[in-house]
């Protein structure tokens, strides 16, 4: 069961990275700068991957 949950969601760091990136994108989409969401989300996620690589 633990393996199943970890496969679906990863660890707390992965969840934190993905969650905060999606939150940033969702908020950005409700501002006049919504057009930049297509660039901001990938940049946030790449930064997240960089952070996870150091963990």
């Amino acid at each position: 069961m633990q393996g199943f949950v970890k496969t679906l969601f990863g660890d707390k760091y992965t969840l934190g990275v993905a969650g905060s990136c999606i939150l940033v994108a969702a908020v950005l989409l409700h501002t006049p700068a919504a057009i930049f969401a297509g660039a901001v989300l990938p940049i946030c996620l790449l930064a997240g991957a960089a952070y996870l690589a150091r963990k």
């Binding site: 996870l52 690589a53 150091r54």
Partner: protein, 238 residues
Amino acid sequence: MMGALIATFLTATVEWVEAYTIVLAVALSIGWPRALGAAGVALLFLAVLTTAGSLILTMIHDLAILQFVIGVFLTLFGVRWLGKAIARGAGLKKLHDEDAEFAGLRARADIHEARAAWWIAFNGMLLEGLEVWLIVVALGVQTHHTLAAGSAAIAALLVVCAAGALARKPLARVPENTIKFVVGSGILSFGTFWILASLGYDWPLGDAALPVLFAFYGLGGLGLIRLYSTKTLKLGTV
């Protein structure tokens, strides 16, 4: 659709190679029929999970919700694999070594006991297969090609079985980290695309944004490997 099939095939290849190492280690203790039996039961379980997962997701009739759910799972998977591949590529973490994995399994005391060994093979196959299951269901349902995605995973299994039958030892020469890097970038591209699409974002390039995202994550990841490698070298020389 082709990108989804390639990503499924590559993900499955990496996972089946790891599963093969476990089944091989067990087979040397309890024989091939019982080891393959354990792997077969795990595969059957995965097939049932795939059917159930696909059915559950197809019950979501709102396209935006479906895209968001699948996008989140793919993002969680992709960012994890890309991060891991960057860390291993830069030397921050040890590369996955099938030979060492095999030696570790053979050194376990319980692998020589029939029932425990059976569970090791079953559990190993199931846990490695869960990531294949996730990709098959997520990419399959979203592209409406679950059967094709499942076939890609089975094709990868046949390739690994054939390679294993020829080699009769762990498949240590498969470039697992390179494959993980490519798959991580690809899966993260699909996740990013579908999350924003589900939130109402209109991608300026449409579907053509996917290869752009893939190039961004790939080149960005390579840049990070280079950056971290340089830092590791500098720290090592101090």
